[in-house]
Every structure is written in C-alpha cells, then in structure tokens.
C-alpha cells in the first residue's frame, strides 16, 4: 500500500531527527547513504568498528602520555575494563534498583500518554481544550522538576519515578495525539463504513494506524527516561547507575566512575535495541 509507505517515512525520519538532538541517541545516525566514497576507501560495514577502535586508541594515547594527574583522570582502557569487570556485581545491583524506578514509570507514562493521546487526537473539542496547556507544559525541561519532586514526594523512589514519568509522558502523548489527529482519511472512511463505535474505532483502527508515531514518541521518551533517572540519582539515591557514578566521583575513584559511565551507555544502548526489535515486530504490516 503506497499511501501507507509514504505515511511511515516522515515518522521514521522524525524519530531520527528528534532522537539525534538528544545526547546518547546515536542509533542509525552514522548511516550516511548519500556520501559515496571512492572505491578504495569503501569498507563495507566496518566503518563503525574502525571508528570505535580509533577512539580507544586515542584514549590509550591520552592516558599513557599524560602526566600524573592526567593518568589519574584518564584511566587507561585496560584499567577501565578491569575495573568494570570487578565492579560488575555492584553495577548489576544498581541496574536492578534503577530499573525498579524506570520500568513502572515508563509503563505508566506510555499507557497514559497513548490512551490520552488517542482520545485528544481524535476529539477536536478536547484537542482545543488541552493543546494550549500541552504547548506550555511540554517544553519545560523535566530535570527542572527534580528538586521540587524530591521535596514534595515522600520517598526518593516516588520522586524519581515522577520525573521519569514526566520525561516520558510528553513525547509519547504529543506523538500519539499528532498521529491520531492526522489519521489518513481512508482509515476513517473505512471505519465509518463499518459503523465502528468510538472505543472500537480507537482500539482497532486509530491505535494500530498511529503505532509508527507512538514508537517515535517512545524512543524519544526512553532516552529522556534514562536522562531523568540518572540525573535524579545524582541528587539523592542510595543505589542505582547514576548513584554509582556520583559516589565514585566523590571518592575521586575515576576508573570506577568511567566504568560506570561506559556501563550505563551499554545499558541504554541495549534498551534502545530491545525497543527497536519490539517496534519491528509490532509494525510488521508496514511494508
């Protein structure tokens, strides 16, 4: 279905461009099909690995040719790897703590964002009522809520959960509402021909048709979730990934700190890959 294909492309590009503005989101942004290198320079699919090897080499170079303080601040790749291995049990426990905050908030923010987005996107009166507020509230950087959330809510767990929720809710809601509002007319026509009731229409037509935009919102939201979580943990967690990094920075244990950063990067990367898999499976019909 040609009209469907053309519908999906803007959504995909908007994911990438939206994600590209965020730190930590590098998926796919190194693919540059428009640049054609001379044949001798063409390295089929190995460019990425070579670049990473270059970064490690530079890192090794900086740490071994620095003076004492430089060596201290730039632990060598090997030392970092050893530290990472040694800290793995502690990091894994931290991951569990972090995910105990992350996952419930993520689930709640995605379900509320999707349901409310579908309803607002398909109900013009609600849209007129809610979108001025959304335009004002959604661009507020969610990190700004952290001190207040910590002061306001009874435990660190709920405070961090709240700010993760805010960070995920807006991108999911906005993308869903946009997608549902711009539903291609032929889907609406078919639903009307079949005489679908509102709930059926939302569940069986608008929701699947909006899935590409919903996934765009979720992938932006997931990156936000990790940002919110780790920043919140810098403030006042007892355990967790952000806490790990903050703790060893306080002790000036830079090998552990760098290991923590690397480990966090891997966790976020794996999470994004998992999301990508889910998305591919859910959007199987989009060809």
């Amino acid at each position: 279905m040609a009209s469907l294909g053309s519908q999906s492309n803007p959504a995909v590009t908007s994911t990438l461009s939206a994600a590209a503005q965020l730190p930590g989101a590098v998926r796919g942004s190194f693919k540059s099909p428009n640049i054609s290198w001379p044949k001798t320079l063409r390295l089929q699919g190995k460019e990425g690995l070579i670049f990473i090897a270059g970064v490690i080499l530079l890192w090794q170079f900086i740490s071994s040719f620095s003076h004492f303080s430089g060596k201290y601040l730039f632990p060598s790749p090997l030392l970092t790897a050893q530290t990472l291995w040694a800290s793995l049990p502690e990091l894994l426990i931290g991951t569990v703590y972090s995910f105990l905050i992350l996952l419930p908030s993520l689930a709640l923010a995605i379900s509320l964002g999707v349901v409310w987005g579908l309803i607002v996107g398909t109900t013009p009166a609600l849209n007129r009522m809610f979108s001025p507020f959304a335009r004002f509230a959604s661009p507020v950087p969610p990190t700004i809520y952290i001190p207040y959330a910590i002061a306001l809510l009874p435990t660190f767990h709920t405070a961090a959960g709240f700010v993760v929720f805010i960070g995920v809710f807006w991108p999911v809601f906005l993308n869903t509402a946009n997608g549902a509002g711009g539903l291609p007319q032929h889907y609406r026509d078919n639903a009307r021909i079949l005489g679908l009731a509102k709930v059926e229409y939302l569940r069986r037509v608008v929701f699947p048709a909006t899935l590409p935009q919903i996934f765009s919102g979720i992938s932006v939201g997931l990156v936000f979730a990790f940002i919110m979580l780790t920043v919140a943990e810098l403030f006042g967690a007892s355990k967790g990934l952000g806490r790990f990094v903050q703790l060893y920075a306080d002790y000036a244990d830079y090998p552990r700190m760098v290991a923590g950063i690397l480990y966090t990067g891997v966790v976020v990367w794996i999470s994004m890959e998992v999301l990508e898999r889910i998305k591919k499976r859910a959007l199987f019909w989009l060809r």
Partner: protein
C-alpha cells in the same frame, strides 16, 4: 437500437432505490457537483462514467453518506441519507482493508457489525465462506500488504459482502489492475451481483468497463460535475467480451467518447473566455 438517451425527468420514481434530487456540493467554495438528479432502481447496476475531475468519486461519497450535500437531498428507500450505514457497503480503489489485520480478521470485523448476535467461532467460519466466494479461500491468514492488487480488491469485495449491504458502492475498484485481473474481477462482480440481487453504483472512467457491466450508464461532465447524459445499455445478459468488437458496441462507445470530447472542448473554451475577461 434502444440506446436512446433517457431524460432523467421522466425516469421512474418510487420509494425503493436511491433518489438524488437537486444535489449541490462544493468544496472550499469551488462547486464540485451541480444540479444532480438521479434515480437508481432497486437491483440496478448503474455506472457513473466520466473523465477525472468530474466529481464522480464525490457523488459516490455522498451516496455512501461519507460527505453531506450542500443542497438537495439523497434518500434510500424513502429515508434521507445522513451518514454511512451498513445498508450501503463501499469498495474503494485500493484501500478498503486495514493493513494490520489479516484478510480473515478484516472480514470478521465486518461480520461483527453486520451480525452482532453471533460469536467469534461463527464469524471465523463465515469469514472463510466469504473469502472462498471471491476465490481467496487459501489466503485467509495473509496480510493485505503481501497480496497483489487483484487479491486485495477481492478481499475488499468480500468485506462488502460480509456487511450484507443491499447496496454496493464501488469507486473505480478495478482501476489499478492489469487487464486480465480486471476482466476476472468484472466477471466475479457480475456473478455476485446476480445472486442475491444487489443494487450497484460503480464509478469508472473506462467506457468499455461501463458498457460491459452496467444496465444504465450515467455520463458526467466536468466543471462543475453534472449529468450530461443517461444511456440505457441495450446489450443482453450474460454478456461476453466478444461484444467489444460488435458494431453496436463500437458506435455506442464512440458516442460516449464524443460526449467526453465536447465536454473537454467546452471546458477549454470556458477557461479561455474567463482568461480574456480577466485581461
């Protein structure tokens, strides 16, 4: 030859069938349809024939209740059309099925609306029946995007049948198909139309297709869309494609072709007059 033009004013009027009177429709201030008067009898196969841009798709949408007229009325069996209804099934050119459902699930969704009293097992069994009737018995579990255009349109017809509508509205349903598939689907449609007998309004810009399928052809002109002639098709059923080389068929299609050419000519002259007035 009994193919004399039928003036719409003396066509038979009754409570049954579709009645369109003094219909006007405009989109963003531009008149699309003007002064449409039309009666479609119960059980009739009617083709709306016209060049692109004559508003034939718009007229079909109005008959479906997807759009509402600016002035005039459309009624079915005496009651005014105010929105879509299961009484009038629609087959679009190429997007009648939801791509996230399998063929069977698409049909089951239609059955759940037309037969709300039955359970999922009943729907599954009957979806299979409807698919078999359009030659898709082996493809029930397939997703539309993996099917050819012809198979997608077969599925769309099966869905319209599953709605159980006595009226079938079809918007260039075979327009995107290759000649062989097109011919096969035309014959399938005629077969399905015959029993149980349905009323069909079929939009096309293909003169041959219209004359092969229809009892009556309504020729539309453009700018704004209006009826320029109604032609009762004189050929007996069942028709064969050998008809296309008969003298009567060629003369009739030549006459319709002449109507199209005159319409285009009028449009060009009107445009150039308008241009000279502006200067």
């Amino acid at each position: 030859m009994s193919a004399a033009p039928v003036s719409h004013s003396d066509s038979h009027r009754s409570m049954s069938g579709i009645d369109v009177s003094a219909l006007q429709f405009a989109y963003e201030g531009i008149p699309i349809l003007s002064d449409i008067d039309l009666h479609v009898a119960e059980g009739e196969f009617l083709c709306l024939l016209g060049p692109s841009g004559c508003g034939k798709t718009t007229l079909l949408r109005l008959l479906a209740g997807l759009d509402l007229p600016a002035a005039g009325t459309i009624s079915y069996n005496g009651s005014q059309i105010q929105g879509p209804s299961l009484e009038r099934g629609v087959v679009f050119q190429n997007y009648s099925l939801f791509p996230w459902f399998t063929l069977a699930e698409n049909i089951e969704l239609a059955l759940s609306k037309s037969h709300p009293q039955h359970d999922a097992n009943w729907r599954q069994a009957h979806a299979q029946d409807y698919l078999a009737r359009v030659g898709l018995g082996d493809s029930a579990g397939q997703y539309p995007s993996l099917l050819s255009g012809g198979m997608q349109q077969r599925g769309a017809i099966a869905r319209a049948l599953a709605l159980g509508s006595p009226v079938l509205l079809m918007d260039e349903p075979f327009g995107a198909l290759d000649p062989i598939n097109r011919a096969k689907l035309q014959d399938l449609l005629l077969e399905l139309w015959a029993s149980p007998r349905k009323t069909v309004v079929f939009v096309t810009h293909d003169v041959e297709e219209a004359l092969y399928l229809a009892d009556r052809v309504v020729v539309l002109g453009s700018s704004p869309g209006r009826i320029i002639q109604e032609i009762a098709v004189p050929f007996e059923r069942p028709r064969s494609r050998r008809l296309f080389s008969s003298r009567e068929f060629i003369e009739l299609s030549e006459r319709i072709g002449q109507l199209f050419r005159e319409d285009v000519l009028q449009r060009i002259e009107a445009d150039s007059q308008l241009a000279s007035v502006k200067e």
